[in-house]
């Protein structure tokens, strides 16, 4: 049983219910408060970042933006289970996971602000940038996993996508391949119940998305995606399997898209406010905060400090982003090929430095 309303899956892995009460013994990493506080902090920072990004977009200072509101536990939980040398292949709603891995807020803003330099992050140099063509990152993950297996250092490729992504051929072909070749890869689905205006129930007749793993002969698992402990724990097990040479896993994280699809979308056209309100009751931040508070590991003061710091960090990042001049126009040719062909080079010269 999950802590999420409307999302009752019989075999869903969950540790904290919607109010934050433990439903069973917590995994080791969640015994003390340190790890949980780190997870909580990053989820809060992600939400603060989201809010700022939307504000920037609304005032014409950022491009179309996909909020992760309500789904912060998923990519943060996944990233927190990964080791540095693993490779993360996000879709476009995994800001929290990217931040956890070391991509900076400024880099994220640059990307969403329409500047390629945002993908040249200083952080995890092997991680893939945001992937916009839905599901096309899963084949890449198969290839990354192949390379990691070849390198033999125990690295795992972790790709994420949405419920909509599970309808696309790329997803199935890649899933089948990591199965057939027993590659070290984990595919995580953020089932936020919507693909723009298409509800999960219409995307597929399958009762769960996790069961799509059966098509590839792989294990699939349903997790309460609003319980960061459950997400992290399931990812850890999947990573262990992969590192042990046992191959891939599909993890479906049940959650809910509390925001519009992107800033270009108006979800009120196709879904009821009621549904959204109901899902606010199960959102991941309050759940973990309640638990931490109950464990005396989190105070009002802690909360205020965290919010203040999050905002300050985000504001500072936004200012640096806004102050950053665009690349000169000729930069559009700089990285087309390793060796720029002569006619392109001539064009770039013509354009000069602005």
């Amino acid at each position: 049983m999950t802590g999420n309303p409307d999302l009752c899956e019989p075999d869903c892995s969950v540790f904290l219910d919607a109010e934050g009460h433990p439903l069973r013994a917590l995994p080791d990493f969640a015994q003390g408060s340190e790890a949980l506080v780190a997870l909580y902090s990053m989820m809060v920072k992600t939400r603060t970042f989201d809010a700022k990004a939307i504000a920037l977009q609304r005032t014409g200072r950022l491009g179309t933006y996909a909020s992760s509101l309500g789904q912060e536990a998923i990519s943060v939980g996944v990233a927190s289970a990964m080791s540095e040398a693993d490779v993360f292949l996000p879709s476009f709603r995994e800001h929290g996971g990217q931040l956890w891995r070391g991509v900076t807020k400024e880099e994220l803003l640059l990307y969403w602000g329409g500047d390629e330099r945002g993908n040249d992050f200083a952080g995890p140099r092997q991680d893939f940038p945001v992937c916009v063509p839905v599901a096309s990152q899963f084949p890449h993950a198969a290839g990354v996993a192949l390379a990691l297996a070849h390198q033999g250092a125990g690295g795992v490729a972790v790709a994420m996508g949405g419920d909509g992504a599970t309808s696309k051929g790329d997803f199935y072909e890649a899933l089948n391949l990591i199965g057939a070749w027993t590659l070290p890869a984990v595919f995580v689905i953020n089932n936020n119940q919507w693909a723009i205006s298409m509800p999960r129930a219409e995307q597929t007749r399958a009762e769960t998305l996790a069961q799509k793993a059966v098509a590839a002969g792989l294990p699939g698992e349903v997790v309460d995606g609003n319980d960061v402990i459950a997400v992290r724990e399931a990812t850890m097990r999947a990573l262990d399997r992969a590192r042990a040479g046992q191959g891939g896993t599909l993890i479906e994280c049940l959650s809910y898209r509390l925001s519009d699809h992107t800033t270009a979308d108006d979800a009120s056209r196709y879904r009821e406010d009621d549904e959204v309100s109901r899902h606010w009751m199960a959102e991941p931040l309050a759940r973990l905060r309640n638990h931490l508070v109950a464990e005396h590991a989190w105070s009002k003061e802690d909360e205020e400090n965290l919010l203040r710091d999050s905002r300050a960090e985000t504001e500072a990042a936004a200012e640096r982003y806004l102050a950053m001049p665009p690349q000169p126009a000729r930069a559009m040719f700089d990285h087309l090929y390793a060796k720029v062909p002569p006619d392109i080079a001539a064009l770039a010269r013509e354009m000069g430095d602005d």
């Binding site: 329409g114 500047d115 390629e116 309808s167 205006s197 995307q203 056209r269 126009a329 930069a331 559009m332």
Partner: protein
């Protein structure tokens, strides 16, 4: 007759087709209750029901392939690909099936389907959302590729595409969806599919453009007119087949030609037009044929998008170069 935007005109054409014939159906991602991400199908599901205007799972290969099967079996599908950057997954079905079914069955099975897709830049959309890959489609024998340049053209050409007995990819310049209004009559009259339109007659040089570029070329033509240069502007409209006769006729008259498109230069459709002139109008040419196009690079993200897109200034500069050629 009301003033409509292009997106309104497209919706009006879709409505009319759905009204006219119960075999017409519309499907694609978010075309139902949401009315399409650009609202091309706004209200249609409510009006015609969810079996005739239907949301598909997120899967472009089956969207295209299902259109093939449905058309083969007697339906008249009008499917939407949400952005042209996601149409690549549909190319296999278009090239290997839609475009060939009539030919390989000697006319036994036909494929009267339309695949609509917004294309082009100018709205600072996220990456992969501003592609112009019409040249790839125009290389596929058996396909039709059509692009409107104004609300009225969109209405008439889309109706024609929908009624055509062969597969048509109808590419819509998203920058024009709401950029201007013009009077459009819901008279059910289709425009001819295989004819280029002389938008503005002129004597000194021919400018060939399509989609959003027609407006930019028009602005350039205005500016040129002020300098006493009379440009004939042709809206290609049908990218496949191409109305070669109209272009050749114009260039035989003007002796000069500029071709404008958003897509990258190399192997863009402008090459076909220039090549046609180099074969069939060589002796008429008084100056080099210049293509004003997107550069041969990946379309930059939003911040540099304007520097990538051809615009009136670049068209005008090339026109002047052509006029000054000696």
């Amino acid at each position: 007759m009301t003033d409509l935007t292009m997106i309104d005109a497209i919706r009006m054409a879709l409505s009319r087709a759905l009204e006219d014939d119960p075999d017409f159906i519309v499907f694609g991602e978010d075309v139902g209750i949401d009315g399409g991400v650009f609202r091309a199908t706004d209200g249609l599901m409510q009006r015609f029901g969810a079996t005739r205007v239907r949301d598909t799972p997120l899967a472009e290969t089956v969207i295209a392939g299902m259109a093939v099967g449905a058309a083969a079996q007697g339906l008249r599908p009008v499917a939407e690909i949400q952005f042209m950057g996601f149409l690549y997954s549909a190319i296999d079905q278009l090239a290997n099936h839609a475009a060939r079914l009539r030919n390989r069955t000697r006319g036994r099975i036909t494929c009267p389907m339309v695949l609509r897709a917004p294309y082009g830049g100018g709205v600072k959309a996220p990456e992969h959302h501003s592609e112009s890959m019409e040249a790839m489609l125009a290389h596929i024998p058996g396909l039709r590729v059509v692009v409107p340049s104004s609300p009225a053209r969109a209405y008439g050409l889309l109706l024609a595409a929908i009624r055509d007995p062969d597969p048509v990819v109808f590419v819509e310049p998203k920058r024009l969806y709401r950029a201007l209004k013009e009077p459009v009559q819901d008279d059910g009259v289709a425009l001819p599919l295989d004819r280029a339109q002389v938008v503005r007659p002129g004597d000194d040089l021919t400018i060939v453009a399509w989609g959003a570029m027609v407006a930019d070329a028009g602005k350039a033509a205005d500016a040129l007119a002020e300098r006493g240069i009379s440009a004939e502007l042709i809206d290609l409209s049908s990218l496949k087949p191409i109305d070669r006769a109209t272009i050749r006729g114009s260039v035989q008259k003007t002796g000069r030609c500029i071709i404008v498109h958003e897509a990258p230069l190399t192997a863009g459709l402008g090459a076909e037009i220039a090549a046609d002139l180099a074969e069939h109008c060589l002796t008429s040419l008084l100056a080099p044929v210049i293509r004003v196009t997107g550069y041969d690079t990946v379309m930059p993200y939003a911040r540099l998008e304007d520097r990538y897109m051809p615009d009136a200034a670049r068209i005008q500069a090339s026109a002047q170069k052509v006029m000054e050629f000696a």
